[in-house]
């Protein structure tokens, strides 16, 4: 195993931002795997195989790698730790409804996420399964399997980095002003109001835009700054929550 040094990390990040080379990304991942392992071990007494926890933590690591800003002057490990821990915590939180998904499928889902975004842009519409399969060089069956597993797996673990990197967070809060309108519309359904109030703002907005404004998933994705596949997972999850909530069961 490569020894972990801070200078290597900085150098690699500089190269990654410049070239977007997947090899560099992989190297960074490898370099910080010990950090993931260390953090995953903290959760090892909760009855989940350590291997799985490391896998979950790695998703957090990938997110952190994609979002890390060298200019901030923070050590990467400092930056990545809360993201990795957050991913692990979410994993346990989601356990109640999530199905264990083989690593192979998780990785494929992660890849397809990007393929879908690319194809959507090229075609100017959502792609079909054969189109995705051809582009990604896998079978249609595998695409379907990965899509299904994406639905079952933790909602944001497979999240792609925001399509608009420079997106100002203030701006995004502004957009959420729509939530008030959304609430008015949704509260028409009296039985749902308390449940909808429990949803995070982003989820409320997505719910409103899809079902009341008839906006497509791709447009919502653009609007909210997440991938279309993530919107899809969130919608499924929101509906699940509302259904189980109406039976007096779940928490979002």
């Amino acid at each position: 195993m490569t020894t972990y040094t801070r200078d290597d990390t900085k150098l690699l990040f500089a190269r990654l931002r410049e070239t977007d080379d997947p090899g560099v990304r992989e190297e960074l991942t490898k370099l910080h795997l010990p950090l993931v392992e260390y953090l995953a071990k903290r959760f090892k007494d909760r009855g989940e195989p350590l291997d799985d926890l490391i896998q979950v933590g790695s998703v957090g690591l990938l997110k952190a790698i994609d979002r890390f800003d060298l200019g901030r002057g923070v050590e990467f490990s400092t930056y990545a730790t809360p993201t990795i821990v957050g991913e692990l915590k979410r994993y346990f939180r989601d356990k109640g409804w999530a199905v264990r998904v083989p690593r192979r499928l998780q990785e494929l889902s992660l890849r397809l996420n990007k393929v879908v975004a690319q194809l959507t842009q090229e075609l100017g519409r959502s792609p079909t399964v054969p189109e995705i399969a051809k582009y990604a060089g896998v079978s249609e069956e595998e695409v379907l399997e990965a899509l299904e597993s994406g639905q079952a797996y933790s909602t944001s673990s497979l999240d792609a980095p925001s399509t608009s990197e420079d997106d100002d967070s203030d701006l995004r809060v502004d957009r959420m002003g729509e939530t008030d309108v959304a609430l008015d519309n949704l509260e028409y359904f009296a039985s749902l109001a308390p449940l909808i109030a429990e949803l995070p703002e982003r989820e409320r907005t997505i719910l409103y835009l899809r079902f009341f404004k008839g906006m497509t998933q791709s447009r919502i994705a653009e609007h909210v700054g997440i991938s279309q596949m993530h919107v899809s997972r969130l919608l499924t999850r929101i509906l699940d929550f509302l259904r189980s909530g109406m039976n007096g069961e779940a928490h979002y």
Binding site: L123, S126, T128, V129, E148
Partner: protein, 129 residues
Amino acid sequence: MTTPQIYLRVPANPGFVSLLRTTVGAFAAHEHYTLEQIDDLRMAAEEAAVQLLRRSTGDRLTLEMSADEQQMQVRLTVSVTPGGPVIDPESFSWTILQALADDLDLHDGRGSSSVTLSKHRTVGAEFVA
């Protein structure tokens, strides 16, 4: 040109909803529907099935699907005892189904109720027979 038709009968039990969902998604994918349409159809089928099962008095739920050049149709049917619509047009469920389907039809017959959803084919995603 043949128009493919699928018929599936499952126990009227919520445990089979995910099977319906998957089947609808696989058929839509097979028919070259786009990812978003597949998703809409899956979500709609799930919502319709959940609602139908709440009122079902029989022991089976049937799923019928067909596709042609223009559209794909999904129909879910259960047995019910007559009285009131199975899905209230004022309900949130109905709102969801309307957003997800291009056409939506609720049929309360004697002893059975069905929901029919259809989705129009996207231009550019071609028909395969």
